[in-house]
Subunit: 206 residues, 2 copies
Amino acid sequence: MVKSHEVDPTMTESRIMEAARKVFILHGFEGTTMQQIADQAGINKSLLHYYFRNKEKLFESVFAFAFRQFVPQIQDILVSHATVTEKIERMVSEYMDLLLKNEILPAFILHEINRNPDRLYAIMQNTGLDVNMFVHSFRVEMEQNKLRPMDPRHLIVNMLALCVFPVAARPLVQRVLFSNDTELYNRFLQERKKEVARFIIQSIQV
Amino acid sequence: MVKSHEVDPTMTESRIMEAARKVFILHGFEGTTMQQIADQAGINKSLLHYYFRNKEKLFESVFAFAFRQFVPQIQDILVSHATVTEKIERMVSEYMDLLLKNEILPAFILHEINRNPDRLYAIMQNTGLDVNMFVHSFRVEMEQNKLRPMDPRHLIVNMLALCVFPVAARPLVQRVLFSNDTELYNRFLQERKKEVARFIIQSIQV
DNA sequence: GTCTATATTGTGATAGAC
DNA sequence: GTCTATCACAATATAGAC
């Protein structure tokens, strides 16, 4: 039933998505042209409009996909029955690995959520991200006098900040503090995992 | 000697700069059109090319100006003869004030240095930013056994991360942790000054 | 120094053949 | 489902009048 000149449509659609993902993440929404994406996917411009109605829709698909990449792995750790200290160690280490494997994503996401914050509304609903889980288990341990009393939201923001910033600001930091030596900065980021975990854990101990 | 229809050229040039600064910082290089800048400045498109040769040159002027805004105030603190602890407290407080007065700048700078890291080369040479000053005074105190032995570069990155990230990622953090309540998040950021200083200082004590 | 008019190219998007 | 051809418009940039 399938003629020889036909190709699995799912194949083409995913190729477009992958191509769009690469180009959008690298250059942002405004910095990307439909032509660039078509070239990257090895197909014609018109096909982009056939599968995704317009540039905006295509971008939304890509952005939602990229955004969700960062959620589930954290979620797994959050719902585990480990202590807060153990959770922090795992989260910092795994999250920094994830960031280093997707170096350009942080700056991309930061830029796009500032360009159009409303986009978050649609996406956040589907992620099912539940920070309350973490906040709750922190409060439990806190009340048992095992942890210093503090607003858990500072803890969360600190963790994100210490992991995300060094990657998002790499061009600047690597240049100012490491003579723009990429290999040197990579080693710094690796040893940083222990450093950040220590820093965070120390901040919640009495 | 000045005819009535003539206007101080310096006046026009600075008006263009101010207009370009607003629009570029808000929408980024690719997201900004020369028409938008001309409208914002209340002049004609052609005048932009008269004063600055092209869009790229105009952007470079704006970016260099915006970037340098964040340097001198830190510099003053770095060269002072205060102890490291005092320097940290002042830096965190004053830097977060600076960031909050220019909320959109961090995401803008992060995006643009990733889009074109080479731009930093030209700018960094003129800033005269000397991190060695801070690193040195930290090493001195460290050797006197007053401070925990650690790589000062972690300290610097931590400080920057904890201050910059909550501002650059406001749309996301405010939405997830503060039900998108701007006033609530502002208070959180204010009380955060003390928190961050405490975190940092605690991390360098033996 | 400032404007109008225009050149030139690039862009997102659609129509229609196959 | 995929392509070619093309539209309609927007973008940067320049020429030239005043």
